[in-house]
């Protein structure tokens, strides 16, 4: 499974993931404090230069990750053009782009394993109360392993459908697909029990 961590190595890859996440939380809250489009534009220029520091390829993949925002940008733009409230509209658009760009920056510069360590660290207090955090770590690993397996089985079902029908596979294949998942779960549960189970 491919994570969204950038292959372009930056200095920020080495920084502690917990620190980056804390910084992201604080700066996202701060974005909502200001309503001045000028300040927000300055922040956006700052974020873009952070991306640019890591090189052109990094900047390009950062920009393409922002494409999910275009319907909202168009919507807010048209709305505030109509109401002639340009300042508010610009602030909303800039804040939205800044918030997503910052968050993507953390995702792109943090390895999956570092993120999982942070999750483990955040859960550590729960272990004191006797909650089995090992189960969550195992579940994360299971999902990462099983998603490609299920996708493969889904593709097989859809191929089998296409071999027999001129039409594309519709929602009908979701039933056998879910059945496959249920049966896999039975086998995985058995395999887990055979390896000593989860009750520790």
């Amino acid at each position: 499974m491919i994570s969204l961590t950038s292959a372009v190595k930056t200095r920020a890859h080495g920084w502690p993931a917990g620190g980056k996440l804390a910084g992201l939380s604080v700066s996202t809250v701060l974005l909502f404090v200001t309503h001045s489009p000028v300040i927000l534009a300055a922040v956006l220029v700052g974020i873009i230069s952070l991306y640019a520091l890591a090189g052109r390829a990094f900047l390009r993949s950062g920009v393409s990750a922002l494409r999910i925002l275009w319907p909202f940008v168009v919507l807010v733009g048209v709305w505030h053009f109509w109401t002639q409230d340009y300042g508010t509209g610009a602030a909303i658009i800039l804040r939205m782009v800044c918030a997503v760009a910052l968050a993507n920056l953390v995702t792109m510069t943090t390895r999956l394993s570092d993120m999982i360590d942070v999750v483990g660290w955040l859960l550590a207090p729960l272990r004191r109360f006797g909650l089995p955090t090992r189960v969550l770590e195992l579940s994360i690993a299971l999902v990462i392993r099983l998603t490609p397996v299920l996708i493969h089985k889904g593709a097989q079902l859809s191929d089998a459908w296409r071999a027999r029908s001129a039409k594309r596979a519709g929602w009908h294949i979701v039933l056998p697909f879910t059945l496959v998942a249920l049966d896999d779960a039975d086998q995985i549960a058995e395999a887990l029990r055979a390896r000593g189970g989860l009750d520790t």
Binding site: L4, S158, I173
Partner: protein
């Protein structure tokens, strides 16, 4: 215990896979992201608590940087985007859907599961989504609600499909439909 963990993990993987298998297009051209169907199924099949846990596990994996949302989206950015309210509503939606299926035993399962999916997967999820949109876009709740009404017909169809699927799954694997066995 093992079976619960396996089912929770498998349904999280199922939501991911539903975002990737060849796009499901309904008869009259309504494009359908099957992932919210997955959220409904988590509730109707796994029940309230396990369904919510499964959806939360899926979102955790998205947050730590796996591109599991439909269209290969993922990472922390999707949780700060204007549409993030919907994502935060997912586990609650699965919980409410599951709770209704667990408690309401008087009617045929297909009908119960479909109505539960409307209540959880549409009413609850849209409530979260609309609040999120109104916060991010600086609009009132009713203005934000107006923006998403176009998606409701597709989601009603998904709820009906979720109901039919749940009944069929219960017929095929009664022991695995935890909302009705446990």
């Amino acid at each position: 215990m093992e079976k619960n963990v396996a089912l929770i993990a498998l349904f999280a993987a199922l939501i991911a896979a539903l975002g990737l298998i060849p796009k499901i297009t309904l008869g009259f051209g309504v494009p359908i992201t099957a992932q919210s169907l997955g959220v409904m199924l988590c509730g109707t099949v796994l029940g309230a608590r396990r369904g919510a846990l499964s959806v939360a596990l899926f979102l955790l994996l998205v947050a730590i940087g796996l591109p599991l949302l439909s269209g290969g989206r993922g990472g922390l950015g999707v949780f700060t985007a204007p549409s993030a309210g919907f994502l935060f509503g997912w586990p609650v939606a699965a919980f409410c859907t599951g709770l209704i299926v667990e408690k309401w035993r008087g009617a045929p399962l297909a009908a119960v599961a479909a109505i539960a999916s409307v209540a959880g997967g549409i009413i609850v999820m849209y409530a979260f989504g609309i609040v999120g949109l109104s916060l991010a876009l600086g609009k009132t709740w009713s203005e934000a609600a107006l923006l998403v009404t176009a998606f409701i017909p597709g989601d009603v169809i998904k709820a009906v499909i979720a109901g039919l699927l749940t009944a069929a799954l219960f017929k095929a694997r009664p022991a695995s439909v935890l909302s009705r066995t446990a």
